[in-house]
Symmetry: C2
Subunit: 267 residues, 2 copies
């Protein structure tokens, strides 16, 4: 996750930001843009497997919090006014049978009528809340990617979809851990409370210095690792089935919605 923000982009409203993206004026990470508004992970799958995928998400709400579903035949998110899911993210990844085949700026040429789009809650929302309470997020301060790990925590399967939970980790000073649990508990639709605090081996993480995604972060002596269910989980689980086509956001290039983070804390 990068943190380079152009002046003014913090305070622009999401509809205007999405317009800029659509016009090709923004192809960078979205961390920090439209401060206060929820950003979302994107997973697009064909209708033939989308119903099972929705059930998988419903059964595993901590790693897979559904903010919106765009049905086959539509391109309009319910959580973004006048928005087009094919053009309103800065960059996408396209997979055929699990293999990356393109990283396009938009999906206009490859769109099909049977595609179903899932917008899933993103940790940016709760990181904002943590920082607002004075809890520093080290990977942001250091300009690193958030460290993400595979675990031995099994998700509840649904249809063809099954697998273990991926978690994101933040190094939190011991005396702030309780506060971090309290704050993120308020956001059940963006991963909620941590799934684990402390010894990484208890959830099957062998080496905290070797994340499966993102970058390792250094620990200060008073810091403990705190693990949250991660939105990478549904992508990994879906990819395992090698779907005929799957489209996701490009890492850190998220969908910026009209939902306020604070709305997510009061559903």
């Amino acid at each position: 996750m990068e943190n380079r923000i152009s002046a003014g982009v913090e305070t622009i409203i999401p509809k205007d930001f999405r317009n800029s993206v659509r016009k090709g004026q923004w192809r960078k990470p979205t961390a920090g843009v439209c401060k206060g508004y929820a950003q979302a992970n994107l997973a697009i799958l064909p209708k033939s497997v989308a119903d099972d995928f929705l059930l998988f998400c419903v059964r595993n709400p901590k790693p897979c919090p559904v903010l919106d579903v765009i049905e086959a035949g539509s391109i309009r998110p319910g959580i973004g006014q006048d928005s087009d899911i094919r053009t309103d993210l800065p960059r996408y990844k396209v997979y055929h049978k699990g293999e990356l085949v393109a990283e396009p700026d938009n999906l206009l040429e490859i769109w099909r009528g049977d595609l179903v789009s899932f917008l899933l809650g993103c940790s940016f929302s709760f990181e904002t809340a943590l920082m607002a309470a004075g809890i520093k997020i080290k990977h942001i301060d250091l300009g690193l990617g958030c460290p993400v790990y595979s675990t031995n925590i099994a998700c509840r399967p649904a249809g063809v979809f099954q697998g273990n939970m991926a978690v994101s980790m933040r190094a939190i000073p011991k005396k702030m851990v309780m506060k971090a649990i309290q704050i993120t508990s308020r956001y059940p639709s963006v991963h909620g409370a941590p799934v684990h605090v402390g010894d990484p081996s208890e959830i099957g993480i062998e080496d905290i210095e070797k994340p499966d995604f993102g970058d390792a972060v250094p620990f200060a002596p008073d810091e403990v690792p705190v693990f949250w269910a991660c939105g990478v989980t549904p992508q990994l689980v879906a990819m395992k089935t090698r779907p005929e086509i799957m489209i996701t956001h490009y890492p850190s290039h998220m969908y910026v919605s009209d939902l306020l983070n604070e709305e997510l804390a009061a559903l």
Copy 2:
């Protein structure tokens, strides 16, 4: 909702209670049984419309909080050990194309492989929490059915499913309203915070003394009406589509799950 409890049934564990039901030893309302455990509304639909129904629930989590989905081909709830959805509720209602055709004790003879079962959060859970905090629930104290009203609050549609939200109403002393909001906010998967406090006409209710379901309750001078999204909503919405077959629990004869209410407050 009735409140006649046999001795011992309050403290029996859900698995044992469901066994009694399955053996035909309990055909009464479930209010008050297995204290502390979450009870659930049941809606069973054919697979042909079940995927759209799940999406409807995901889009309208306040009236339609999904606790569990049993896929076509299975009869085993994920939230009740060794349980059979065809036998473990005290009574059912069966509708063909929107017309009530039977009120059987079990579904063994009419079960089909294409039926999908939805277990949805029930207000019993948050009423328990309200009462534990000293907030009296009048319809329970008076032995009446909880008053439920149609409103003009539109649900987000999904596929063939659309309609307005139904709400349940509790008369709460003015000085306890804030507490009631705080307490039920802790239970987003059992309807969460109220959707409205005060003037019923603001949400399209013409006469508070004429509920669409349940019984009217008298108001004391210091009491205001407080409205929560109601689990009757998904049933009404599904029934409007006149599905070829739909099965529900018999009113107040719920599914008693292994989930603790307090677990629902910490997802």
